[in-house]
């Protein structure tokens, strides 16, 4: 039993807390310096010798989601919880009975002290003590006592609680949050993963300023519950997600899309909307795949022949494509609008370039919990740092002068200095 208790003490000790924080710092440094989430071959080639192998072995390629990081965070939580539980009874006792005139009036050694010629009530006020108790001590002498910010003793405790709530909210979010993305052009309707909802993109607008920089991306969306038939519409723009059916819809990014048509001879055989970056398998000719690599609204080439767009207006549209046949590159080119790619009797053309939108759909049922934790944390830090518990007490001596003493949690020499300064300012410090 004693061993268990000793182990618990060690685990919940400040030293353990500092060690955990240091390890977390190291993990964070690794996670920010080493590119995360790449494939294994990347680390083996990018890092010389055994470094790449070590990175993979230690999980440093995905630090924030690896097991030891989770274990470390669990240790931090255990430590925070343990530390708070261990200190709880003492804190309660301290708040209830720790601040009494009796305790203070018998305590003068080592405390900040001044003497005043008359009653120190003004000094008490200037020191920020509103409610001052006038009483007599065991020897019948006139006394004063005041205490303020008793809650201050709870600052650290509440900070740790806030931290625990934040971590809990974040961890639950990691476990239960879901995220889907849907992209398309106005008029398209697509399923939102396996949620049973369908998203229709009614409209998508890229708002430009006079200098042609983008001011805002706005999508008008309709979300339909395919099970009940309920539908609801609204607008999502950057920084203003749309909240519907307990989900949040974010205007996440955009790009170019175009209609692609395929003809066999003069007969139209296939038609699709293709976003830049997507591929299309030509149905009529097995093994033929068209990749729509990029779109240039105002096509131009630089001195080295590399393509770029001179403006964001549709002055000289061109479609960069690659054509594959049986996995091999058949051709690659920038196709001007209105022209066709021809392969035997098959021809392909791009048309109607327009912006597509990528909508991210998220549901995190625990964001509020992390938010509450954050709020508690902020309040608690304010309590810990700015509501310092302070006591001030005074006794009237036989010669009519008063001895005043005080103590401040975390105030130390500064509190003492303030007491001396204000004693001087309030007038009658004893000569």
């Amino acid at each position: 039993m004693r061993k268990v208790r000793r182990a618990a003490r060690a685990l919940f000790s400040m030293r353990a807390a500092l060690a955990i924080l240091l390890l977390l710092i190291l993990a964070c440094v690794a996670g920010s310096v080493i590119p995360q989430g790449e494939i294994a071959a990347y680390y083996e080639s990018a890092y010389p010798g055994r470094a790449g192998w070590l990175i993979l072995l230690l999980g440093l390629d995905d630090v924030f989601h690896c097991a030891w990081f989770a274990i470390l965070t669990a240790f931090l939580c255990a430590n925070l919880l343990g530390c708070n539980l261990l200190r709880f009874p003492a804190l309660i006792r301290r708040t209830r009975t720790g601040f009494t005139p009796e305790r203070c009036l018998s305590r003068w050694d080592g405390e900040a002290q001044v003497e005043t010629a008359g009653a120190p009530d003004a000094l008490f006020r200037r020191m920020g003590f509103g409610r001052v108790r006038a009483l007599r001590d065991g020897e019948g002498r006139e006394c004063r006592y005041a205490v303020r910010n008793r809650i201050g003793a709870w600052g650290a405790w509440l900070t740790h609680l806030g931290m625990l709530i934040v971590i809990l909210g974040f961890a639950l979010g990691q476990m239960f949050a879901v995220s889907y993305s849907v992209y398309g052009v106005p008029g398209q309707t697509k399923a939102v993963g396996d949620t049973g909802y369908e998203l229709t993109i009614d409209d998508f607008e890229v708002g430009l300023r006079d200098d042609e920089t983008v001011e805002q991306y706005t999508a008008r969306l309709t979300l339909t519950d395919t099970r009940s038939g309920n539908r609801t519409s609204g607008e999502a723009s950057v920084n203003h997600p749309l909240k519907r059916f307990g989900m949040k819809l974010y205007q996440n990014s955009t790009g170019w899309a175009a209609d692609v048509r395929v003809w066999r001879g003069e007969e139209l055989t296939q038609q699709a909307v293709l976003c830049a970056g997507e591929q299309l398998a030509v149905e009529d000719m097995e093994g033929l795949v068209l990749a729509f690599n990029a779109f240039y609204p105002d096509y131009a080439t630089d001195a080295s022949g590399a393509p770029y767009t001179a403006s964001s207006r549709l002055n000289n549209p061109a479609y960069l494509y690659t054509l594959y046949y049986q996995g091999r590159v058949l051709g690659m080119n920038a196709l001007p609008a209105g022209e066709r790619i021809t392969v035997e009797d098959c021809s392909i053309a791009f048309d109607a370039p327009r912006s597509y939108t990528l909508i991210q759909i998220k549901r995190d049922p625990f964001t509020w919990l992390a938010g509450v934790g954050g709020g508690v944390l902020l309040l608690a830090l304010f309590v810990a740092f700015y509501l310092r518990t302070e006591e001030l007490w005074a006794v009237r001596r036989e010669d009519g002068s008063w001895a005043v003493a005080g103590r401040s949690a975390k105030g130390g020499a500064l509190f003492q200095e303030k007491l001396k300064r204000l004693a001087k300012q309030t007038g009658r410090p004893k000569e």
Partner: protein
Amino acid sequence: MGNPMLVRAESALFYATMALYLASMALYFTFFALKRERLGKLAGWALLAGFAAHTGALAVRGVCAGRLPLSNQYEFATSFAWGISLCALIFLWCFRFRALGAFITPVIFLVIGYAALQSREIRSLMPALQSNWLAVHVSTAIIAYGAFGVSFAVSAMYLLRERMEGSAIWREYVPEREKLDLISYRAVALGFLFLTFVIITGAIWAESAWGSYWSWDPKETWALITWFIYAIYLHLRVSRGWHGRAAAIFAAVGFVCVIFTYIGVNTLIPGIHSYA
């Protein structure tokens, strides 16, 4: 973009600010080296005048851009220097020890010098950056970083105080170590509270802009590292045997992290925040 007259006014105020900060630094050094109280007083006034010119420069830029001047490397660097000046003035006034000026003005001058090297072009904000939360996020970062700048200067004094025990100037003008420790703690406390607020408002903004309040982006991660370092500082202060020197070292390291979070992350590690 921007009215040319206002742009020129901003430029003039900015250079006046630099000159005044430089003068303040030189005066503080001379005061500290020669024990000339009057020069110390003058240095304080130069710092205050520099701060006023700096506030003017930022206000003019804000009017020019039609928003808070907090959106690119230049704007944030100059605001960062403004934050340190503000906190320095507050601490100089509250704790009445002039020698702090000799240690804090070089930090201010370095940061504003870095700002002077950045492009001053006013650019329109991309949609993700048009957010009130972001404005609160960055404004509070200035105060947090400013307070950490002060704690860095005071901790440096703490660490040097040990070696300068024999120097009459140090004994006369620099408070005892216990007091330095408490002042540094007050600065860290202010910075820590604000940094927490910065991280929380940043998370709120990220949630509304990117759909996720925490995504381990390098800038976020480094803000967290800084936060952890100062948390260690706070705990070292309450641990027996560790407070004092070890805590002061952590406060100094914390500020190096602050600088890295601000400059290093943008230039060395790419991420969502790279445009900031």
